[in-house]
């Protein structure tokens, strides 16, 4: 008789998300470092100006969303490895999710409160 292995089946999707978000962030970081090297912002106005255009704002938002989604999967993996009591782990997982969702909202507020 075939024994069926039952699981939540999110493993492969999270594996893929971890890599796609990593690639998106790597591309953003490479472009951003390139901008800083070619024309380093000399004062507040230029630094702020970097994030004022709509495409840059969207790209930066995409970076932050990737970052927080990536961090969620990483932190969940760490908690699964080291925190054995289910209730404690569940509590910490909720804390991580709430924190990261809050950071995402905060990042939107930072970017869209610029002029």
């Amino acid at each position: 008789m075939v024994k069926h292995v039952v699981g939540a089946h999110y493993g492969l999707r999270d594996w893929l998300v971890q890599r796609v978000t990593a690639l998106l962030m790597a591309v953003y970081i490479a472009v951003f470092v390139g901008i800083l090297l070619i024309c380093p912002p000399q004062h507040y106005g230029e630094w702020r100006g970097l994030f004022e255009s709509q495409p840059m704002r969207i790209a930066t938002l995409l970076f932050f969303v990737s970052l927080f989604w990536h961090a969620w999967i990483g932190m969940r993996d760490i908690l699964m490895d080291y925190i054995k009591p289910t209730s404690v782990r569940f509590g910490l997982e909720i804390l991580v999710v709430v924190l990261l969702a809050g950071y995402a909202g905060w990042a939107i507020q930072i970017l869209w409160s610029l002029g």
């Binding site: 890599r19 702020r48 961090a71 990483g74 991580v96 990042a107 930072i110």
Partner: protein, 125 residues
């Protein structure tokens, strides 16, 4: 059972971790550190952008030696996580899976992130 007769040696302080293992555990530690301090970094980002006054506050804060030490620590965590992550992406497409190359690339990850941290750290100080 053959498995049960195998010697157990799990003294973590005495196990010599191979270089890729060291890169791996540091990838985990640096990722956790970046998560733990993400709120502080986001706050600094906000201060640097919000208003000319908050920008000045940000510059003054970042000028403190303790803040610089913290930022250089975060810089290392980021650089190590970044380069180790790139190596994992290469491993996914079967680049660097030979023992010799995987060791060389692991040393490269450790070295490049350390050297870049020191060079950028000196520039920022």
């Amino acid at each position: 059972m053959i498995a049960s007769r195998r010697p157990k040696f799990l003294d973590l302080s005495k196990i010599r971790l191979p270089v890729p293992g060291l890169v791996s555990i540091l990838h985990r530690i640096s990722g956790a550190a970046l998560f733990l301090f993400a709120g502080v970094l986001l706050y600094l980002f906000q201060e640097s952008l919000a208003t000319p006054d908050s920008y000045v506050r940000f510059r003054d804060l970042a000028d403190h030696w303790l803040a610089k030490l913290f930022l250089i620590g975060m810089l290392w965590a980021f650089l190590h996580h970044f380069f180790a992550g790139l190596r994992y992406l290469l491993l996914d497409v079967d680049i660097g899976t030979e023992l010799r190359t995987t060791r060389a690339m692991s040393r490269g990850v450790l070295g490049v992130s350390l050297v870049l941290t020191i060079v950028l750290g000196i520039c920022l100080w």
